[in-house]
Symmetry: C2
Subunit: 326 residues, 2 copies
């Protein structure tokens, strides 16, 4: 069984959201204990991860040091987090496997993801990143070509393109390493956003949604199951309200309908639900949204919100959808 | 033929030493054109690279943003450069290969290198890194536990451990990818310095010499030839003097003797000569120190300083050294 596990960027921070290096290391150790439990059961695992808090820190550094060292573009910040998080995840996983006396090497690959230079996000950016600033400081950055939006009481925040991931350019390396027996860490932060121009491949300033990137990578490497790990055990209807209802096993059509009703917040549960649906719609066996505490059950489809294909035939209708019994 | 090509960190900067992102991209494109020429001739290439200017920039950012975001340790800075340089090298190489209509994928792996926690460098650091600061600013960092040295007119500079690389921990991933047909970029900056402790693997604040790391990686992946690319066509005796003498083909014993006479500056040509000698002493066919302009001839052993094994038997003596006819 081959599983693509997508970890939230906050799976690599402290509970209070702190992203000091030691917080990231400690959190990685907890997450990789769960992964080692899977690997110990001979499940093939590919790991991807978010990087929001980490990129946020890098952007602040860019800004505060700009007078002395040249700032690097946003896609470079994403690349940087692939290596720092890849590094600590490998250390944590190698240790967790050694403690279980499991011999399985890990590898972290720098991963580029192709996007379309004409993606609407580049003309109408919507993804908020980094810290809030007062209007006058935001103005300076707007004058430098960045897009910042007034977010009310908290201040102004930068928004960037979040283009659709089209192709995981470095998926062949992931596949080669998996086939050689490695637990592979790849496509962190959704991948380094890259466009193909007349003069060749080049990075672009954008942030790819890591869950949508995970869904694409999962299909590309022929994963059986996509697990989107988050900090809650289930996706929830009427989240936060007295009649909140956690979702268990659900088919894609019903979940898409609920999403269309606005149950899942954009920027948090929304893209996780979208990613799960995309994976199953594209032929994946099932996708699970859950937390790491239940990882073994989640991978088995016995915990969390388990998104399954549509039934072949529903009462009173016919359908050409594929059989969910996969 | 399998070649390990070690690029200087300055191979990814502008001629004036500028390391703006666009300078790094432009320089990578020039370097990867040379690599593509090798790949087009069916030579298997593994690329490693320095990262001095890039790490220098990251340290300044750490410092100037320290009041707002937590600084990351030096080993994380090294990791970051593996991803940013890996990314631009892959883009440049993919483009250069496409222009030559050569189908060969590239991959960049996050690479850890094992060092000894008791390496003398940790108690007596010697490797200068980052920018010069006035004494009062250096004092603040010394109070934070860093080691800084008075370097005279230019000011104070931080020195860190440069421990001996013992094992390329992620060499198995490099080998797996090579065997699957990839041009692999690995062990940038000499690798992420990592120690094995009672509690597991952990990064340490240090800088591994990238040429010594390259020599070890070259042997580990069974490269036939190590090419240490630099900005001069040869290693030179009496460098900069009127009777300067570029070295051509030379055996290890003779080169070691010249090194012992102090011909090669520590921190520049010294470690390149050491790396070349180590590779050949450990059984490599030959090592070449040259610039990228002559890459095809250099790889063939027809340009640059070509370090070969000692002759099996020299006049008037016997030796147990291996035959150099490789």
């Amino acid at each position: 069984m081959r599983v693509l596990l997508a970890l939230g960027g906050n799976a690599m921070t402290a509970l209070d959201g702190s992203a000091r290096p030691e917080d990231q290391v400690a959190a990685a150790r907890i997450a990789m204990a769960s992964v080692a439990d899977l690997v110990a059961r001979d499940i093939e695992v590919v790991i991807t991860h978010g990087n929001g808090p980490q990129v946020g820190n890098l952007l602040v550094k860019n800004e505060l040091a700009a007078a002395v060292v040249p700032p690097v573009p946003l896609d470079w910040c994403g690349a940087q987090t692939q290596a720092t998080l890849g590094n600590i995840l490998m250390n944590a996983l190698d240790d967790a496997l050694a403690r279980r006396q499991v011999v399985r090497p890990s590898a972290a690959v720098v991963t580029r993801t192709l996007v379309d230079a004409t993606d609407a996000g580049f003309t109408s950016p919507t993804k908020p990143i980094g810290r809030y600033l007062p209007q006058d400081e935001a103005r300076v950055l707007i004058d430098h070509g960045e897009t910042w939006q007034d977010r009310g009481q908290k201040g102004w925040r930068r928004v960037v393109a979040s283009p659709e991931p089209l192709e995981i350019l470095d998926a062949p390396a992931v596949t080669a390493l998996m086939e050689a027996g490695f637990v592979v860490i790849a496509n962190g932060g959704g991948g380094i956003p890259t466009v193909r121009t007349d003069t060749g491949l080049t990075g672009v300033e954008a942030v790819i949604d890591k869950d949508l990137g995970a869904a694409l990578l999962a299909r590309t490497v022929a994963a059986d199951v996509l697990v989107v790990a988050t900090d809650v055990p289930n996706a929830v209807l009427r989240f936060g309200q007295p009649d909140a209802e956690p979702l268990g096993r659900i088919d894609v059509r019903r979940l898409r309908a609920l999403a269309a009703e606005g149950h899942f917040a954009s920027g948090s549960m929304g893209p996780k639900v979208d990613a799960a649906c995309r994976f199953v719609e594209a032929g994946g066996q099932y996708a699970v949204i859950s937390n790491l505490a239940n990882i073994l059950d989640a991978v088995a489809g016995d915990a969390g919100t388990v998104v399954v294909p549509n039934p072949l035939v529903e009462p009173g209708e016919t359908t050409t959808e594929r059989n969910p019994d996969a």
